[in-house]
Structure formats: C-alpha cells, structure tokens
C-alpha cells in the first residue's frame, strides 16, 4: 500500500501570522537572534506520489513514480517513472512532463494517469543522473494530432508547469 498523506498538516514559514515577539520590536542588543516563531499548521488536500502506479491512456498500468524533478524556481517539471520489466529485470527509468500527468482526487489511491502510452515512452532516453538536465518525454502534440517530435527536446513546448 502506498503511504497516503491526505489533508496533511503542513508547516509553513512564509505566511505564518506575526507572533507577538515580532509585533513588538525588541531592543536589538537585548535579544540574541530571536527564536523563530512556531510554524502555523494548515490542512492541505495533497497526497504523496512516490511509488504510485501510473496508467497510460489505454488504461494499462505502465509503471510507478520513483522521483519528481523540479527546476531552479522550485516548479515541478517532470515525474520520473520506472516502467516495464519482469520481476525488476529490464525496467526502464524515464522522465515524463509533469503537465501530462492527471492525478486522482485527494485521498484516492487510484492510478495516476499519463497522456502517453507505453509505446510512446518506450524509446525515451533513460533518466540516469540526478545532477544533469533531464530529457523529458512529452506527447507528440497536445492539440493537433500528427507525427511530430515526441521526446527528449527540452526546448519544445515550454508549458508553464501546472501547479497543483
């Protein structure tokens, strides 16, 4: 079973309400670095996705999420999935565009849906190195059906990553 984090209490530092310590300006020399205020706890409808099964448009389960890639701005850009193989032999690890994933409602353990079939990502370059720019597989064309470049071109279709 996948560890689900539904309506998970989340710690936030940025928009925590100003605690009393901050509202009353203290004499600078008195307090050594003031203890940071305790975080505010908020409920967020969100789930963990590591290890979750991924389903292609044809309904076949094609793999599992093993990692998530973020860019320098902190935006989630891609999910790394392991797909294929037999008892762990012959598994391929590829990165797919985050925008092509559709997630089930919070709290559901249904499969994550990917707009690409196993056939479409089978030739995608392997994801190997955490530290290098990843080649990310994208659908041939989001709106127009037609044969176009389908994988591994980071310059193509720089979709603004959907923030969920």
């Amino acid at each position: 079973m996948v560890c689900l984090a539904l309506t998970m209490p989340v710690l936030r530092a940025t928009d925590a309400p100003a605690p009393p310590a901050a509202s009353t300006p203290l004499p600078k020399q008195a307090a050594a670095p003031a203890a940071p205020p305790p975080a505010k706890i908020a409920k967020v409808e969100a789930n963990g996705i590591l290890g979750r099964a991924v389903q292609g448009p044809d309904g076949h389960q094609i793999g599992r999420v093993v990692d998530v890639l973020v860019d320098g701005g902190g935006h989630v850009r891609a999910a790394v999935i392991d797909f294929g193989g037999f008892l762990g032999v012959g598994t391929r690890r590829v990165a797919v565009d985050w925008a092509d994933l559709t997630f089930p409602a919070s709290g559901s353990d249904a499969d994550i849906k990917l707009d690409l079939t196993a056939d479409q990502i089978k030739n995608a370059p392997l994801y190997t190195d955490q530290t290098k720019a990843a080649a990310v597989a994208e659908p041939p064309a989001k709106t127009l059906p037609g044969p176009q470049a389908k994988a591994g071109d980071p310059g193509q279709a720089p979709d603004a990553p959907k923030s969920k």
Binding site: V2, V66, D67, G84, G85, F86, L87, G88, K122, N123
Partner: protein, 425 residues
Amino acid sequence: MLGLRERQTAPGSTKPARSGGTAPDGPPVDRRSEAGLDWLNFFTANLQTAFGPFVSVYLTQRAWTQSDIGMVLSVGYAASMISQVPAGALVDATRQKTRAAGAAILAIIAGALMLAFFPTLLPVMAAEVSHGFASCMLGPAIAAISLALAGRAAGAAGLRLGRNARYASIGNGVAAGLMAVVGSTLGARAVFILGAGMAVPGLFALRLIRTAAPADAPRTAAAGPPQPAREGIFRLLADRRLLWFALCCAAFTLSNAYMLPLAASEATASLGNDASLLIGACIVGPQIIVALLSPAAGRVAEQRGRRPVLIAGMVALPVRGLALALISGHPGWATWALIPVQLLDGISGAAFGVLVPLVTSDITRGTGRFNLCMGVIGLAMGAAAAASTFAGGMVADQSPPLAFLVLAGIGGLGVVLAAVMPETR
C-alpha cells in the same frame, strides 16, 4: 577414506539410524537422502529469485526513495561479499553441514518475512545483511552435503551435482513464474511471503538427508572436525588450479552478468509493456535448458574431464554476446529472437552449476577446506558481477550493441582461459 562412507552420529541427531540407509561400502543407494537433496535444491533456489532485483521494485512501491533503496542494496551486496569466505570457513568448521544449511534457510525465511512485514530502513537492512551471510553458507553447504552423499564412488560426484543443478533450475523457473503471477495479482508483498513459504518444505527435505562424513574431510581426521591448520589455508589459496578456476569464473561472470539486464532493458525499449512477457521467457527459458543439460554436464565432466564442459559453457558466451549485439541493432520484431538466444545461457548455466562445486571439490580434496574455497570462487564471481554491471552500463550509455560486443569479447577471453586451465579431475 576413499570408498568409505560413514554415518555421522552427532549429539543433536536423535533419530535412530535407519536400516535402509547408506551402506558402508559400495554405490550410494540412499534413495531417501537423494530425494531429500533433490527437493532441498528445488525449494531453496527461489530464495535467490525473491531477493534479486525484485527488492528494488517492492521498496519503490512502498514509497522508498531511490537513494535509500540504493543504499540498502549496496549494504546487502557488501555483506554478501564480506561474508563469502568467512561463511565458507564456518561451514567447514561445522561437522553437520545439514545444520548449517538449516540455519541458513531459517535466516533467509526470516529475512523474507521481515521484508514483507517490516519494510522500514533498519529491518530491511538487517534482512539484506542476514540474507547475504546466509546465502553464502547455504550454497556451499548444499554442495558439501551433496559431495558427502555421493561419496567416493567413481563419477558419483558429477552425477549428483548435475542432479542438484537440474532441481535448482526447475525450482528457479517455477518460482519466477509463480512470483510473477502472485506479484501482479496479490501485490509485491505477497511475493516475499510466497518466497518464505516455498522455502519451508526445503527444511523438511533437509531432514530426509542422512549425511556421510564430508567428502573433503582430511584423511587423518575423518571423524573429527578438520584440524585448524592456518598455513593450510594459504597453501590452498596459492594453489594455481584455484587461481585459474577463480579467474575462469570471474571472466564468465564479467561477461555474463550484465547481458540479460541490458538485453531486457533493450527489449522494454523496443516493445514497451509487451516486453514483460518476453523478459519472463528469457529468464525461465534458460532454466529449462539447465534442467535438461546439467545431468549430461555432470556425466561428461566425470567421463571426459572438467575442461570440455568448462569450454562448452564458456563458448556459449561470445556466441550469445554477438547475437545480442545483432538483435540490439535491429529493434522491433527481431527482439523476440532474444528468447532463443537466451537459451544459450542455459548451456553456460548447466556447465557452471555443475563445475563450480565439482572443480572446487577436486582442488580441495583431503584438505577440509571445500566451503572456504567455494567462498573464494563466490567472491570472485560476486566482484565480477558488480564490475560487469558497472562497466557494461557505462559502455551501454554510449552504445548498447558495443556493450554486447565488449561482453562477448570478455567471454572470448574466458574461452582461452578455459582452454589453458589445467584439468583438475
């Protein structure tokens, strides 16, 4: 103690000696022990399958991070490498090899259950470490029991080891098939429960076996534990035949270990999800060939010598590597040709399954160090497997067909090594 078979009466064995047991002389006719050993091989083969690459799949499903998975697997690998030789020495020091095998099976069952029910960092690491040590004991212990059971009758050892390899490969193939079915229907955890459950009959099979004195027991101290002769170890390790054979085994594994993973990954790239079926066939198919060929491998090794079998097992490698390189260059339906090409792996599997214990027994005859030397060979093969995956992976990043060619080349080198290796019979 040539030709002499003795029943060990260890303090723990409460069972009275059976009248139909081993005869003090003549050919071994202990059918009960023979059958026990057959089933022991059958039921313990799956323990390796369950702990293989599937651990990584399972832990991924348990939402483990890839770095944690990598760390745990590295710890398991390091544990098995470090314990190869000490575990062998421990089995050598044990008078009752069946006890050593039983303890190892229990430890591996416990590890599988721990993986199934406590998939958190420390228990999993403990399971990996105990599996590493226990499997280093189990393989040599089973081989030692087999040699003891076969006795010193001419040719008996090779036939018995051929039978071992046959039952182990059937067990492996059946386990792989069952695990795939169970894994896809009941989930990954069930695979480990199945693995643990399948090993339990192995413990009962073990109880059927009446061991004679270890076949490698020193002539002077047949009844007692081997004398701790430290310089004996070093003299043995300096034995050129052991060095040659370790080199042969290392070359074999260096060439062999990465062929299937790379071919399977290529198959996935070529066929997508359909590849799972093909990869399954590539894993089970060679086991069928091993089951068919290994009794013949044992017979030929006894009648014609070890070297022809060694060369046959080694020649299959470059042939396979070249064929895999060809297929790799032609994606698509040609990928299905992987299945017949992988059958060549069965030839190598049968040859080495029989020869590793047989040649080691040749080299250690009368020294009481059989299991230690099995550990040395295991160490050489384990290191070669890691090197194969690492170096093969680096070349494959550039060009997979080139990687197959390099692996084939190493296999060719292995053929040369096998051809010049001194006969040990």
